[in-house]
């Protein structure tokens, strides 16, 4: 039996985000009240508690805030190791967990500029990954 990765379950907070991913767009929220960008999506602004939030398309660029090369992985990820999981800080200032994909894994460094790519990580599951610029 093939093991599948944990599938994101779109909900009232996240549905727009995943619909965007399916269309090749990286959507984040911005607070109408304090103008700060917000990720992950939610019902209210964690900075000022306003519930007036708008969706905006992120530039899709950022830098690596930190990363790890995973050597011991489990379940559906076991056969993929080694692979790079990172926290990327987007140009808008919010952070996302992601994979760093592409052929230059040895060049992955904190601070390296990266750009979003949309990858079918499992059957029917597209995720925003990043690759080095």
């Amino acid at each position: 039996m093939a093991e599948h990765i944990p599938v994101p379950v779109p909900d009232g907070d996240s549905r727009v985000f995943w619909e965007g991913v399916a269309q090749g767009k990286l959507l984040i929220q911005r607070c109408d009240a304090c103008q700060q960008f917000i990720f992950y999506p939610r019902f209210l602004c964690p900075h000022c508690f306003s519930d007036s939030l708008a969706w905006v398309e992120a530039q899709g660029t950022g830098t690596i805030y930190s990363y790890t090369v995973v050597h011991r992985a489990f379940g559906p990820f076991a056969d993929q190791a080694p692979y790079v999981v990172a926290i990327v800080e987007l140009a808008e200032g919010v952070r996302m967990m992601t994979r760093i994909t592409g052929s230059e894994q040895d060049a992955v460094r904190i601070g390296a500029p990266v750009r979003v790519v949309f990858v079918e990580a499992d059957e029917g599951v597209t995720l925003p990954y990043f690759q080095l610029n």
């Binding site: 930190s66 990363y67 999981v85 926290i87 601070g111």
Partner: protein, 382 residues
Amino acid sequence: MRPDRIAAIVGVAESDLGVTPGKTALQLQAQAAKAALADAGLEKNDVDALFTAGNWAWSPNLMLAEYLGIQPRYADGTNIGGSSFEAHLGHALAGIEAGRFEVALITYGSTQRSDQSRNRPANHATLVEQFERPYGLPAPVGAYALAAMRHMYQYGTTSEQLAEIAVATRKWAMMNEKAMMRTPITIEDVLSSRWIAEPLHLLDCCLVTDGGGAVVVASARRVGSTRKKPVWVLGHGEMLTHYGITNMPDLTVTGAVQSGQAAFAMAGVRHEDIDVVEIYDSFTITVLLTLEALGFCQPGEGGAFASDQRTAPGGAFPMNTNGGGLSYCHPGMYGIFLLIEATRQLRGECGPRQVPDAKIALAHGTGGVLSSSATIILGRDA
């Protein structure tokens, strides 16, 4: 030191540790609770408050109370990860100070090693976990690796410096007959152990064991009728900073900054007054970040601070004297064992690993992925 005496740890015990096939989480807690109450010289029916945390029931408090035959009039099931038990002790102190109960029993038990439960990813990622779980970061080690990588980037911290902590902790374990790993290791052994998640090696990581523990806390009024000398709860602080590692405000700064400041202020003691330190060592980096956040050294200086076996037996900073989560035991949530060892050190019960004349101890729990911090300062009568 604060002059008033409100609540004290009066009994501590572990259950069977290591690999306990056939045992249940309830059995381990019952075994530890019986031994801890015997240690205190108290009876089951003296217990009027029950504190526990775990994921083995939808309500661990209800199930455990029934199993033990206790009907507590106060319960706290705070679950903030491995630091829950430092939080429980702080909450017990507050409840006793408020006059709500006299004797609290805090327990923990887990059969995670025998269950092999730790590494099964769920099929679906819901709520905020849908933004992390699909990427395959192994929990929790991957999150700690991200923090270690960032600390190395910002401050030049090295794998050798992290390895110093694992080596020193193993030396303490060699003097604890209950410790699971008792063969000496070198810094080279740590560095040549296989990668788990860079920059963390296998020997940077805690054990996966079964085990349980119990702590009995009594009001000052009840301390006169207990069997051993009290270990007073002088200070407590806790801090919750995030849930997922992506949302940790700064990967190099934990909530131990705030929890430590609160605990030191409540206890009325200074860093140089602390004789022995028990710091949650889920990973070597956890210890390093905690030492900095608690203010035992400056931010970025944790690597230098831990060097030259400073935390080993005979070193200037005795730490994790039971062998820690790295070498003694680590049944999922380790926090209760920090309290057990700190209490035994202050009672002078630790035999070859006893820190001479220890009067004041600090125990610090870290939960989740550096998500929660809870600090306890304990002291004995002179």
